[in-house]
Amino acid sequence: MSQTLSSLSEADIRQLTQLIDSLERSAFDFLQVQVGDLKVTIGKGDPAPLAAPVSVPAPLAAPIVDAPAAAPVDAAPPTRAAASIHTTASKPASAPVADAGTVDITSPLLGVFYAQAEPGAPPFVTVGTEVNEDTTVALVEVMKTFNAVPAGLRGTIVEVCAQNAQLVEFGQVLFRLRPA
């Protein structure tokens, strides 16, 4: 353990400390962080995580938080359990699980998701499309105002998670991307 810790830079340790401070002040109970090969889990209160790990919303800087390896679907915490007529405000229950090494591109606002620039046009991206930070991956429309969503990160789209012309919420996963 001490060997791994000594391989962390000053900057890494400062970043970790900042994250711990944020967790302290936040309403969240736990945080999972990957710094290089080191995965750190920080929690308070109950030992079992109560909230699904936080994905970084678009636009993204170089990510310091990764979606963890294969979170099993049935680990969904009680507060997010979907009854048959009740829908929670979270990633839809049918959303596929993140693979190791992928990053979620989430919606920066609530609105109607459009996969292409206009009806009949080809989609901005599909599975396999290579993108960089500024590539527009979708439009989200709010009250007739169209907002371009950037990929935020260089990499390859591995999954399209939102449906064209459907309402998406703030923080909803739109795409999954494998960073370059």
Binding site: A27, G45, I85, A89, S90, L110, V142, L167
Partner: protein
């Protein structure tokens, strides 16, 4: 009832309240939540919750476009804005109307007219409703000095676009007025986007008495009695009660009549509250402002009259006329409400956030609790500190106060500090129990409470 699905554009205890009222009327509910409220009680109670933005209010609860988009995207036909946030926003009301959504509240024209406090004062005055000696807009320090000379010091500087206790300054000395006008104007501009100010004579021995009204926009208007909300710290109410103690039947009737006159003239739609200042020394009342929304303290009136005000708002919004005439409204006993907040008076009311580890509220006949909290809930840092409203009914005022005090002392909250002990202290105080109320009483009692707590602490430390 033309509504079928309502978008609840609020959070916390009022969101719970609105959802329950919709459920009682068989209406489907969608609650708009911020990222910080995804796992809140309203999110669990509503048929659906949609996340409209990050925790910060300006990007979520104060974002009319996100709210309207959420309502349209989830096939709602109405939006209920609750209180605070965008409840009195003409922008939200207009955006709803423009997109075919019903705004559960007053017409936009009344949000505009009553939202401008100078215009509201002018309308009241024109109808013969008493207003405080004061001014219309003051454009300069010189004009302010003229007004002050006419009405006499002390004066209260108020922001025309303010209200709800915000944007007010009391000036006692003439030499302080010019500088105060300059800073008040700048503050008003920054806080409300409108630097316009007006002046009123300041009443030292003031009580805050407000009248609940309902209108159906088809000419029918009723009042549901008054509430006394004099127990305020820095213009924020802590305790409210009905009926207002210690005023004559004749005065009570005049206050009710004044409120009804104003809202009849407006052909007012939905719920509202007309606020008055009662000068205890002059035994006179004066119009202050009108709140064009359901208010935090609405349960006081609900328990006193048996009328579900939120349900009536929904019915009226759904095209039904007012179901009651004035003589249908009865008043039973005495009701008092205490706002339980995550603030500790002994630490200057500093708010604290964190996980509620214990939540054991009082219960029983005549006790109502409006809350979004529960054991295990983490109080977020981003919003106001209201945890719950404890509303208690008694056969008379002493009975109501005693029950409420006992209920507060039984209310066990762990993990977050609250004002429960202070609220009980207020109810038990000689001034409050004798009905010797004014808007400065809270400060006196806070000082006394903090001293008492300090002495107790010192005693405990010595052991």
């Amino acid at each position: 009832m033309t509504l079928s699905r309502v978008l609840i554009a609020n959070r916390g205890e009022i969101a719970v309240r609105l959802i329950r009222a919709c459920q009682d009327l068989g209406l489907a509910t969608v609650v708009a939540v911020s990222d910080a409220d995804r796992d809140s009680l309203p999110a669990r109670l509503a048929d659906r919750a949609v996340c409209i933005g990050p925790a910060r209010s300006s990007d979520s609860y104060l974002n009319p476009k996100a709210i309207v988009a959420a309502a349209l995207g989830t096939h709602c036909d109405a939006v209920h804005p609750g209180y605070g946030f965008l409840a009195e926003s003409p922008l939200l009301a207009d955006a709803c109307t423009a997109t075919g959504l019903t705004f559960v509240g007053p017409r936009a024209e009344h949000l505009y007219s009553m939202g401008n406090k100078i215009e509201a004062r002018r309308l009241a005055h024109s109808l013969g409703v008493p207003t405080l000696p004061g001014s219309d807009k003051v454009q300069s320090a010189a004009e302010a000095m003229d007004v002050a000379a006419r009405v006499g010091f002390p004066v209260m500087i108020k922001a025309a676009a303010g209200g709800g206790g915000r944007g007010m300054k009391v000036i006692t000395r003439a030499e302080d007025l010019p500088q105060a006008i300059v800073s008040a104007s700048a503050e008003a501009g920054a806080a409300f986007g409108d630097a316009t100010l007006y002046l009123e004579h300041y009443v030292a021995n003031a009580r805050h008495i407000e009248v609940q009204v309902l209108g159906d926009g088809a000419g029918r208007v009723i009042h549901l009695g008054e509430r006394d909300c004099s127990l305020q710290r820095r213009h924020q109410k802590l305790i409210e009660e009905a009926p207002a103690p210690g005023i004559s039947a004749a005065l009570r009737e005049r206050i009710h009549a004044a409120a009804v006159k104003l809202v009849s003239h407006m052909n007012y739609l939905s719920a509202g509250t007309v606020e008055f200042l009662f000068d205890g020394d002059a035994n006179e009342f004066y119009f202050l402002e009108m709140n064009t929304r359901i208010q935090v303290e609405h349960p006081v009136t609900e328990m006193l009259t048996g009328v579900d005000l939120v349900a009536e708002q929904l019915r009226i919004a759904g095209g039904e006329g007012l179901r009651f005439s004035q003589h249908d409204i009865g008043f039973h006993g005495h009701v008092v409400e205490c706002r339980l907040t995550a603030e500790q008076p002994e630490h200057d009311f500093r708010p604290n956030a964190g996980k509620i580890t214990q939540w054991d509220p009082p219960a029983g006949p005549h006790i109502r609790l409006d809350t979004h909290c529960y054991a295990g809930y983490s109080v977020p840092i981003f919003y106001d500190s209201l945890l719950a409203k404890l509303i208690v009914q008694g056969v008379n005022r002493p009975d109501a106060l005693a029950r409420a005090s006992r209920a507060l002392r039984r209310f066990r909250v762990g993990g977050v500090g609250t004002n429960a002990a202070f609220a009980a202290f207020v109810l038990d105080s000689p001034e409050f129990s004798e009905g010797k109320l004014n808007t400065r009483l809270a400060e006196t009692l806070i000082a006394r409470f903090v001293r008492q707590e300090g002495t107790a602490q010192m005693g405990a430390d010595r052991i």
